[in-house]
Amino acid sequence: MKIKVILFGHPNVGKSVIFNKLTKLTAIVSNYPGTTVEIYEGTLEYCGHQIVVVDAPGAYSLIPRNEAETIARKILFDENYKIIVHVVDATSLKRHLHLTLELLELPFPVVLAVNQVDRAERLGIKINKEKLEELLGIPVVFTVATEGKGLEELLKTIITIAEKLDNKYLVRKTSTEKYLSRIEKYISPKLSSKNKIFSKAIAYFTVFNDKEYSHLRKNIPPAINLEEIANKIVTNRIKVVEDIYREAVQEGEEFFKVSLVDSLLVHPVKGLIITTSITLAIVWLTLAVIHEIAHRIPSMIYYSIYKKIVWEQLNKILPENIVKYVLIGDNPGVYSSMGLLTTGIFFVFFMILPCLIVLYFVLGVLEDSGILPRLIVPFDCPLRRLGMCGEAILPIVAGTGCSIVGVFSTRILKTKKSKFIASVVQWIGVPCMAEQVMIWFVLGSHGPAYVLLLYIILLLVTILVGFFLNTVIKGVEEPLVVELPPWRKPLLENVLAKTFLRVKEFLLRGTPLILAGILFVNILYYTGAINALAEFTSPIFSGLFNLPKDTVVAIIVGILRKDVAVGVLKSVAPQLSPLQMLTAITITTLCFPCIGTLVVSLKEVGAKQTLLMIGLMIIVTVITGGILGLVSSIKP
């Protein structure tokens, strides 16, 4: 039997840990149809059943507040029969129960996975499992996902439900029955046959004026006061939750102590300095270590083993024609050969991959430790001045991993203005991790001060662009409410699983583009097209930016891959001075996102806004490149 299971719940409750433990490394990252929100899906075989597990994006309610929550809800509403596993945090069970009650409005079986029961016990919280099952009318399983405890029982419960119900939909009597049945009567005839089974839940969304279903309100007679019904449902639900909690949970006396870092977060300056320092210290230290170690060893392997075996042998065997030119280039230099099997393999496997493994690992540690959500609070104030809100720091941090991920992470932002500005920031001010690796390698060879200077330039440009956009675009952000998850010791297994998935994604999606970029440059040289292009753009590159005209290649390659673009600079213009290299890398970073980011931006903000972003980006590049060109042309 094939069973579909959706892991649903608030953010930071341990859904991903349960997902990774259940599916091991079978997970695949898929995009929800028509969107770019990444959904993790994995399979496992258990007791002769094939269980497909989906890790839904974190959601606080079935009435979505942002696009990620909208997608989470859509996963529940697709045509497949499913068993919902509502993952909740045992230490704060009460506030999760509101979502449990919402999920019970759906016609699917629900299992409550009460996670982190060990932490709850330490806080003196005692949960009566049988009582909770009786009051909610659903099975309850206690888990400590990090240790794998309770997962076997969770699987057994899922199988029991699946075998018992055999894909039968459920009709439950819930506390909202008396309010929703009246509404259901009016809207049900208007629903499609597919949506009819969700009529109760849709009645609930209609009452709360949910965007997707608000059109159904016109079918309800004006005599029915929807506002009043909504108020009654909320009041009733609060009472039901309080009653369940009182009967099933014995609270501990322990109030946990706020950490020093957390208490300082509410201070605009101290909070900003502390969180930024911690994050930058970890990331920069890692980059410095990578620069020293992770590059030397793979480079040594490349030059001492790979080059001798592959390049030298192929150079002897292959006849002098385009195939040889494409595969290994016309010279042994790893940067200048531009062959797929030389420069291509070196970039992917000997340069970017070892560094990405380390950096993704560090990013995983940062995510799991609980530091990232803490950046939201101190960054709220400065980011509001740039037209965003504190939550925009999360797409920015995600963008330092991969710009594509960064742009689609803007879905967590609530307003169009915030989304647009955060996307612009991704385009111009946030180099992806693979590009940063190359920046450290290429620009860092002139000294770390130049790398620091580049980051300062990008930060200044971002601030100026943000101020400008905040002034010209109307709209105000909602005040901030954010939950700070507890500080946690990152779980090695979970961090490794995330690193593996991300690296796999890079190899599957990034590698073909890197190789395509290298092939493209190779063909530009082979056909001589590069000379015509360089001549055409030389007034800008040579005249304005004070760069050799060949550097245009980097900009073009940057459309495919930014990391390759930076690497290409070393081969097309080896004679650049440090300041010229800084100029070249700055304009490569500012000008045009990679093709993947461009496509995602088109989907996320639309064609019109993407065109605006391109216009803005060109202006910013020309001005910044012009200023840097002027500085680099000054003779000492």
Partner: protein, 70 residues
């Protein structure tokens, strides 16, 4: 900015002003009439509170709409 005298004290929420939409937004964080909160830290921008064993940051604009008593 709330008074520092509320720091580290436990209160019970009596009312959330600002309509149903604000209440709907706060319920998943455990903030609604009847809930117990403990003010952990007060800053110029907002307040850190503990509610149902979770730490929540509330912007001053929102915190000013939450009425509570000791």
């Amino acid at each position: 900015m709330p008074s520092l005298s509320v720091n580290n004290k436990v209160f019970r929420i009596t009312e959330v002003r600002g309509g149903l939409s604000l209440l709907q937004k706060l319920i998943p964080f455990g903030i609604y009439p009847g809930a117990k909160i403990k003010v952990l830290s007060i800053g110029r921008k907002g307040v850190l509170i503990e509610v149902n064993n979770s730490i929540v940051f509330l912007d001053n604009k929102i915190f000013s709409k939450i009425y509570y008593r000791g």
